[in-house]
């Protein structure tokens, strides 16, 4: 006789496992992703054409910039946006489920349908979500401890939702998530002096496409300024551009030389973006091919900057990990991208190698070209035809000139005597007197 056994998820296990592998900052970024997604969805913003429009100095969005405010204290953490809100029906059927249904409406940054739940479980015990689309609105209150204890059957996997009248609510179309009863470890992190800066930096690095154009993010009252990607350009260099499309993912790969002031370990490497969100920042590891299809990263490559932009209307086909802080290196589209990235990168690497010639008495022409590279916006390249990185070839600049002249032997002897160094050659005397003048009369 055959029967069935229960394979129910246990809430406590679920909550603990679920929140273990993600950092607090990344949970908060997940909440910001949700706000951004609401914005893209309610304003029907198409990421690719929006980026292109921005490159031409205009934004396609008709309304003004949205705002996402993050505030935290030791009592509570809240995130409030005016990004359009979540429709009641979507909240009832989709938003609070763990994982998306296959036929759920596709978002651009929300991939797995776990971000918000994971974030709130990670952060605290009491959660209130209020959202208003202007038409309909709802409120969900969760006491996590209570919810976790009530775990008799699958019917206990619900949250209470209250439908509200959106028009009557005194809040703009948007969502407010308030988490209180913060866990001790979260309180301790939030109390740490470095978290504000780390959060602001993470936000600035993760959304260079969105910040300042579509949306402002304000953390405890401070506006997060976007950190532009260290993209360089000049008349003398043409960045490498390659494109391909695979399994519904559009991939654009760009590589060039960073502007002079941003050639550093901090900025050099590959930036990988999925639907406009930076998931890998200044990578110099084997993940992006260094030490494998590219040479191992070396300090002389601090001028390298490469971008891989992957976009898809189905975010689950993009190779990001659930924390969006890394790439699934097994994803076929990324494995293919990595090979193409190497091809686009190599001429830039050759150029950077050529900055260090074997003959130190010459300044290679490449150095002049590199000097002229300034900070630029890479977005105009998104519409450019593909082609390899090229640079103007300038002749090497000789840094030295040979000095030769006749001097009286008697004068040379006089100097040697004065110096009390009879062993000097005439050439030594020449060099010494030259350097003496340089040191004593030409000091800068």
């Amino acid at each position: 006789m055959s029967t069935t056994v229960h394979a129910y998820p246990r809430k406590q296990f679920f909550i603990e496992m679920f929140t273990r592998d993600i950092a607090l900052e990344d949970c908060i970024l997940d909440l910001i992703d949700n706000s951004m997604d609401a914005l893209l969805s309610t304003r029907k913003i198409d990421i690719e054409s929006e980026f292109l429009a921005q490159s031409k100095g205009q934004t396609k969005t008709k309304s003004g910039k949205a705002q996402i405010r993050l505030d935290y204290s030791e009592k509570r953490l809240s995130i409030v946006d005016d990004c359009g809100g979540i429709p009641y029906a979507e909240a009832r059927n989709e938003v609070f489920c763990f994982g998306h249904k296959p036929d759920a409406p596709k978002r651009r940054l929300g991939v797995y349908g776990i971000g918000m739940k994971r974030a709130i479980f990670k952060i605290g015990n009491h959660i209130q979500v209020v959202s208003n689309t202007g038409n309909d609105a709802f409120q969900v209150d969760i006491d996590v401890k209570e919810w976790a204890e009530k775990d008799g059957s699958l019917d206990d996997w619900t949250f209470p939702i209250v439908k509200l009248d959106g028009a009557a609510l005194k809040m703009p179309a948007g969502t407010r998530i308030t988490i209180s009863g913060l866990h001790d470890e979260v309180k301790s992190r939030l109390d740490e002096g470095t978290i504000a800066k780390a959060l602001s930096r993470s936000v600035a690095q993760s959304y260079p496409f969105f910040l300042g154009k579509l949306v402002d993010v304000v953390i405890n009252g401070d506006l997060v300024e976007p950190i532009p990607l260290p993209w360089g350009g000049s008349e003398d260099v043409n960045p490498g551009v390659a494109r391909f499309e695979q399994d519904g993912v559009k991939v654009t790969i760009l590589a060039t030389v960073a502007p002079k002031e941003r050639r550093s370990q901090e900025f050099a490497g590959w930036y990988v973006m999925c639907n406009g969100r930076v998931v890998v920042n200044a990578d110099k590891t084997a993940l992006t091919g260094w030490g494998s299809v590219l040479p191992a990263f070396h300090s002389k490559y601090v001028g390298f900057v490469g971008l891989a932009l992957l976009t898809s209307s189905d975010p689950s086909s993009l190779p990001w990990t659930t924390s969006k802080r890394g790439l699934n290196r097994e994803a076929l589209v990324f494995q293919r991208a990595r090979n193409v990235m190497a091809g686009v990168a190599k001429p830039v690497i050759t150029f950077l190698n050529d900055l260090y010639p074997s003959d130190p008495s010459e300044d290679p022409g490449e150095r002049l070209v590199a000097e002229g590279v300034k900070q630029r916006d890479f977005r105009p390249l998104l519409a450019e035809p593909t082609g390899p990185f090229t640079r103007k070839v300038l002749p090497a600049q000789k840094k030295t000139v040979r000095v030769q002249f006749d001097a009286y032997i008697a004068d040379i002897e006089k100097i040697k005597k004065k110096l009390r160094r009879q062993g000097l050659t005439a050439s030594d005397v020449g060099r010494l007197t030259f350097n003496h003048y340089l040191d004593t009369e030409c000091a800068e």
Binding site: G240, A242, Q246, S292, V293, L294, P295, L332, V333, Q335, R336, A337, R338, N339, V340, A342, G343, V344, K346, P347, I349, T350, N353, G387, P388
Partner: protein, 313 residues
């Protein structure tokens, strides 16, 4: 990245009989592919012409290939390379090959010969992966490397070299005995095979069909492996080519290489042997002593073997 090689100083390119046999066999194969419907004449040949351009001359004259690109990275001989271009139609690019491969036209078919004369290095494998990542289906990739043992006394040191230089491509080769001298050629074939696979990742139905695996020795022992990037269409066409009728055709890069052996013969002996070629099994010349092996080796290569003579110019 790569430093320029100086092979042009090591050996006079046109006086390497085994290498020349290899070139002639490749040309024979390309003729056969042409007959099977691959328009070899329209292919672009990209290689390392150095200052001798031997393969360029042969591919142009014997196959009618007009699109010819020689890649050289040693800027010190830029003028010398350009001075020695034998035909106006040969373009020369002074850049590392890794920079050039991604620029090869995607809508053309290519023959790319990465004809290295050093022992295997990571940057070479990176170029191999780049090639199989970028070249269009129907294109032919050839890779030559020196398979002599690296510096060091024995397999343990050689293993250390391979692990440091190309560790990612070694797979399960983790015992010193995998690095014994006799296994080095096949080990190199295996490593190149891994790089080929690395480049093919994500290319859907494009695969690599091995066609060549030559082992020969004029001075150092050298390995040339190669094949074609194929979709099911090219694979079907390949089946129609008569390559499997040849002795040199190989379907694996890491097993059973074709050994090119050029017996040492005088001109008079060769003329005599040619008169009897192709000879029956077990045939031996009556006029002079020659081993069974030498006769058999000569029978395999006489159609491809160059004859050298002094010219007073």
């Amino acid at each position: 990245m790569s430093s320029p090689t100086h092979s042009y100083l090591k050996v006079s390119y046109d006086l390497r009989p085994a290498k020349q046999v290899e070139r002639r066999m490749l040309i024979d194969a390309l003729h056969r592919l042409n007959s099977a419907g691959f328009p070899i004449t329209d292919y672009q040949y990209t290689g390392f012409g150095s200052i001798y351009f031997v393969d360029f001359i042969m591919f142009h004259k014997l196959l009618g290939i007009d699109k010819l690109l020689s890649v050289e990275y040693d800027l010190k001989i830029e003028n010398r390379v350009k001075f020695n271009i034998p035909f106006k139609g040969i373009d020369v690019v002074m850049a590392p090959i890794g920079d050039v491969i991604p620029t090869l036209a995607k809508d053309e078919k290519h023959i790319l010969w990465l004809d290295y004369d050093s022992i295997i290095k990571r940057e070479q494998l990176s170029a191999v992966a780049q090639a199989t990542s970028d070249l269009s289906p129907g294109s032919i990739l050839l890779v030559t490397v020196d398979v002599e043992s690296p510096d060091g006394a024995g397999p343990a040191e050689w293993r250390a070299y391979f692990e440091a230089e190309v560790g990612d491509y070694l797979g399960e080769k983790n015992s010193n005995s995998d690095y014994s001298k006799s296994k080095l050629p096949l080990l190199n074939g295996h490593i190149i095979e891994q790089a080929i696979k690395q480049g093919l990742v994500g290319r859907g139905n494009v695969t690599f069909e091995p066609l060549f695996n030559f082992l020969y020795k004029d001075g150092h022992e050298m390995l040339t492996v190669g094949g074609m990037l194929v979709t099911p269409t090219e694979r079907r066409k390949l089946r129609g080519a008569s390559l499997d009728e040849t002795l040199y055709h190989r379907t694996s890069l890491s097993h059973n290489p074709y050994m090119i052996r050029v017996p040492k013969l005088t001109r008079k002996e060769r003329l005599y042997l040619d008169g009897a070629m192709p000879c029956a099994d077990g045939w031996l010349p009556e006029e002079f002593e020659l081993s069974q092996e030498d006769v058999a080796a000569y029978r395999e290569i006489y159609r491809f073997c160059p004859a050298y003579a002094e010219l007073l110019l």
